[in-house]
């Protein structure tokens, strides 16, 4: 055949990417993998809040980890999976998947707001949050009814 396989393939309307692109992509992925390992060792609570708010630091750390993973996934999708050169319909469907997952995560609106719901407590006259307690559990024996608000929760679970 007169044309090289590269040109024949190009004729069919799809681009053939150079090998170097794939190798560069792999190198970037490896670098970010190293970054994510490093980031896990860092205490963001110290760096960002000066040691005051470790809870926030923990969240930042997780955000960084998921962010790096999402970036790596984006790179894989764009370059290895050729989404950059795909039709816009394919792009819409690919992005739809990643954007739809957060809709599933809206389940957390339930768990997040349970602690704010005020209900009548087990001790008359006191109110508690809507997190049920386990009655009769021997772990509860030491609990003083005076401190019903704080302590009447299932020690095995933070969820209920």
């Amino acid at each position: 055949m007169a044309k090289s396989p590269l040109h024949a393939a190009e004729d069919h309307g799809h681009h053939v990417q150079p090998t170097s692109m794939y190798i560069k992509t792999a190198v970037i992925l490896a670098v970010f993998m190293g970054l994510t390992i490093l980031a896990a060792q860092v205490d963001f609570g110290d760096i960002v809040t000066g040691g005051r708010n470790h809870q926030l630091g923990y969240y930042i750390n997780n955000l960084v980890a998921v962010g790096i993973a999402a970036f790596k996934a984006f790179i894989v999708v764009m370059f290895f999976m050729h989404l950059k050169w795909a039709s816009s319909t394919a792009k819409v469907w690919a992005l739809m998947g990643f954007f739809f997952l957060p809709v599933l995560f809206s389940v957390f609106c339930d768990y997040g707001t349970r602690s704010h719901e005020v209900v009548n407590g087990w001790i008359p006259g006191q109110t508690e949050t809507a997190l049920p307690r386990v009655i009769g559990s021997k772990d509860q024996e030491h609990l003083d009814p005076k401190f019903a608000n704080e302590q009447n929760r299932n020690p095995k679970s933070n969820l209920y």
Partner: protein, 559 residues
């Protein structure tokens, strides 16, 4: 008529004997079981789906028989649990989710868009095999002792405490989920890429829009229930604790994930029926659908909004009240697109030339029954009211109005409307019309008393109610209605099958309807069209001349 398709041979023309159509193109069992033709796969689905419908109906009969007496002497509690679970699981997973999209959708979507087949015919066949495997496993689980966890399989009962065939049934449901997913993938790819030249998005029949929206829901929602049920199987079979409360797991998480799919699932069940109704009402009013764009976009709106309301099944499950408020509000919002459709269909019928053939009677029945079902859904969307009505027969009546009064009526309308296209035969429309009325009346007699008994407090999933014998009259009415309804579902089997042998040949377009599927022969050839259709006219472009001729044609046949 309206497009530039030339159909060289019509089945009425005796001088040119008909070429092979999809039914005659291959007679062996192998040619059916290994077919890649979407029309044959639709017929395979029709046979399986009808079988499971009858089976689910038999279980319903047992439930209704049991509930005629307050003491509940016919079945024991444990058996009753297995019976209503079987009824629910079979009807939901093996009939409702599958009937309209997999039977009518598979058959018609390629025809309506002018394609020769779906995008992935072998995946379509795989879809049917997955469905059959699902049905077989669920059937085995039911027959070999049954499942008593309810079709909703709430944890921790289903994962830790139930002694019944939960895992087997769940594997079946899992496979059924993948059947649904593959159908959805097929529809999406087909509608995106395989429309005939000139078939723009806004010339698509509304049935195609409906199936496209259904495909979106199938793809985004089904995997979530698949993984949820797989987690229950993990807990039961591999002892991997996921929802176990003793170890600090959360059983309500199961409910969240289950309903995240199962609410959109009810839209999988009802959206294709909406599509059928759009087609039927348009054809039998001889008018274009009023507000085509609104109806098309409302299908998409229902598909997306449907994912945001799952918590309305969980108002009393200990989920946060604030979350409940949000779900309640969005559920009210979700009624709007459905209402838009009802308004538009009504407006389509206004000043139309109405022909009350059997599909139209089913469609009008659908509109009334779905309206009641939808409105009672709004009662239930109000959190305060739901606390009183949840787990009562009010809920049972509500969902049967939308599922049976909605989906099943839509399925019957579509089956009757497209039966001549699928089989090339006409059935006896007089019997069919009367049967439609019987189904409507029987349905109302069955389920309306359940609204009342539910309002009075009769709990669901109880096989006795001796503590409240005042419910008995409503249960007896309901059982009477169920008998009538049962007859109404058996009679079509008879006249439809009879039409295969003795019905007169239908011709390409017996109803005088508009649409690419009516431009080809009845039954269509394997490749759907003899020439590639090129679409130049708008959708539902009914014009007075053609309408007059169609009336004449129908009149001549005695309809």
């Amino acid at each position: 008529m309206s497009t530039t398709v030339k159909t060289p041979i019509s089945t009425d023309d005796a001088a040119h004997p008909p070429k092979l159509n999809y039914l005659t193109n291959g007679h062996s069992l192998r040619s059916w079981l290994l077919t890649e033709d979407h029309k044959r796969i639709a017929i395979l689905y029709l046979i399986s789906v009808s079988f499971f419908f009858m089976l689910g109906g038999a279980f319903a009969g047992m439930i209704r028989w049991e509930l005629t007496s307050p003491a509940g002497n016919f079945l024991e509690s444990d058996t009753y649990n297995r019976v209503f679970t079987a009824h629910g699981a079979i009807m939901v997973f093996l009939f409702l989710l599958v009937a309209v999209p997999a039977v009518l959708g598979n058959f018609l979507v390629p025809l309506m868009i002018g394609a020769r087949d779906l995008a992935f015919p072998r995946i379509n066949l795989l879809s049917w095999y997955l469905y059959t495997a699902a049905g077989t496993l669920i059937l085995i689980s039911v027959v070999s002792g049954g499942v008593d966890a309810g079709w909703t399989f709430y944890t921790p009962y289903s994962s830790l405490y139930s002694n019944s065939n939960v895992s087997l049934c769940l594997v079946g449901v899992f496979l059924g989920g993948f059947s649904s997913i593959t159908t959805g993938v097929n529809f999406i790819a087909t509608v995106h890429r395989m429309r005939a030249p000139g078939m723009t998005w806004f010339r698509l029949p509304l049935f195609v829009w409906a199936n496209y929206a259904t495909g979106i829901i199938m793809m985004l929602g089904t995997p979530v229930v698949a993984i949820t049920l797989l987690c229950v199987i993990f807990e039961r079979t591999f002892q991997l604790p996921i929802f176990s409360p003793e170890l600090g797991g959360d059983p309500i998480l199961f409910q969240h994930m289950f309903w995240f799919y199962s609410h959109p699932a009810v839209y999988i069940m009802v959206l294709p029926s909406f599509g059928v109704i759009s087609e039927v009402i348009s054809a039998f009013s001889r008018k274009r659908v009023f507000g085509y764009h609104f109806v098309a976009f409302s299908s998409l709106a229902i598909a997306f909004l449907g994912f945001l309301v799952w918590g309305h099944h969980m108002f009393v499950s200990s989920q946060s009240m604030y979350q409940g408020v949000a779900f309640s509000l969005i559920t009210f919002l979700l009624a709007v697109p459905s209402a838009i459709k009802i308004f538009n269909w009504t407006a389509t019928m206004a000043k139309g030339n109405i022909h009350l053939n059997s599909p139209m009677i089913y469609a009008i029945g659908f509109m009334g029954l779905f309206l009641i079902g939808g409105l009672t859904g709004l009662f239930l969307a109000a959190m305060g009211l739901d606390v009183h009505l949840t787990a009562t027969y009010f809920i049972v009546a509500h969902f049967h109005y939308v599922m049976v009064g909605g989906t099943v009526m839509g399925f019957m309308a579509g089956l009757h409307f497209w039966w001549p296209k699928m089989t090339g035969r006409l059935f006896n429309d007089n019997i069919a019309k009367w049967n439609a009325v019987v189904v409507f009346l029987g349905f109302n007699l069955t389920f309306f008393p359940q609204f009342i008994s539910g309002w009075m407090g009769m709990p669901r999933r109880y096989h006795y109610y001796y503590f409240a014998p005042e419910y008995q009259i409503y249960n007896i009415l309901s059982t009477m209605g169920a008998t009538v309804l049962g007859v109404g579902f058996v009679v079509p089997v008879i006249y439809l099958i009879k039409s295969l042998f003795t019905g007169e040949k239908s011709g390409d377009n017996p109803w005088g309807a508009h649409g690419l599927e009516w431009q080809t022969t009845s039954p269509p050839p394997t490749e759907n069209f003899y020439y590639s259709p090129i679409v130049t006219d708008d959708v539902y472009d009914y014009d007075p001349v053609a309408e007059h001729e169609a009336s004449r044609e129908l009149g001549a046949r005695g309809h």
